[in-house]
Symmetry: C2
Subunit: 128 residues, 2 copies
DNA sequence: CCTTGACCTTCCTGTAACTGGAACCCTTAT
DNA sequence: ATAAGGGTTCCAGTTACAGGAAGGTCAAGG
């Protein structure tokens, strides 16, 4: 498989796949002309990576998850811990964003949004 | 005021304040020895920036909001539009994160997290 | 045989919003 | 004289790629 084939199969841009090779997440072989040649196992890894990234795991998390995936003797506790930490992180980010949204929607609602200069949003940001 | 004074007053790190000067958000005067000297108006701007950044506005949004704040003849509609767009953005991000959380908490719940290698999380990421 | 177009390659730069650190200057107190 | 605690500039690193330039490769068509 050439890079565009595996790009299509995984949904990852070719650029991203090259980047993943650069940082050591995949190591496709090379054909005589220098083109990358992806084996099935490479495609599976990249699919794994695409899904993990879609769930918001960082590249370093992905690296660790990939290592655990390839380790037949892994303990599921290790995977569980990484996922649970990421879940906490997501929850924190949701809470932060929800707090912003509450404040902001309040302000947006209070602001007339017409052509007058009076604006509660700016007043609040200025410390009223 | 020296930089550490205004840092304390605004809650922004000195590094961040220097950065804001570098990108033109504030322009404190300089004293003879080269130190930055912050006027009250500078401190107010920085407070404004700190609050806007806390609400998740991008630097470019902040730059625009600041310009509107300083423009006595602004239309509140301009502010309203920036804030409403940002609110939409926040909502999108919350939805994205919530989707991740739902999937992930499902997986975390299903994973025993013990020392056996069997792991539904990895199975799912692999495409089961 | 030559060209054209679609691939592929590497390398360099830029993104957002800072943070950390090195090397060095200024001021005040001991 | 020196030490502590400010301040300054400049450079590199962070995350996870994206865009683009310059150039090699391959298959089809005239």
């Amino acid at each position: 498989m050439n890079i565009s084939d595996v790009a299509e199969r995984t949904g990852l841009p070719a650029k991203t796949i090259r980047y993943y090779e650069e940082i050591g997440l995949v190591t496709p072989r090379r054909s005589a002309n220098g083109y990358r040649v992806f084996a099935e196992s490479d495609a599976h890894k990249l699919t794994f990576l695409a899904r993990a990234r879609n769930l918001g795991f960082s590249i370093e998390d992905c690296r660790n998850l990939l290592a655990l995936w390839e380790d037949r003797s892994r303990a599921s506790a290790d995977v569980h811990r990484i996922a649970a930490q990421h879940l906490d992180d997501i929850d924190r980010r949701i809470n932060d964003l929800a707090a912003m949204r509450d404040t902001l929607s309040d302000l947006v609602r209070k602001c007339s949004g017409d052509d007058r200069p009076d604006c509660p949003i700016l007043a609040d940001l200025a410390g009223s």
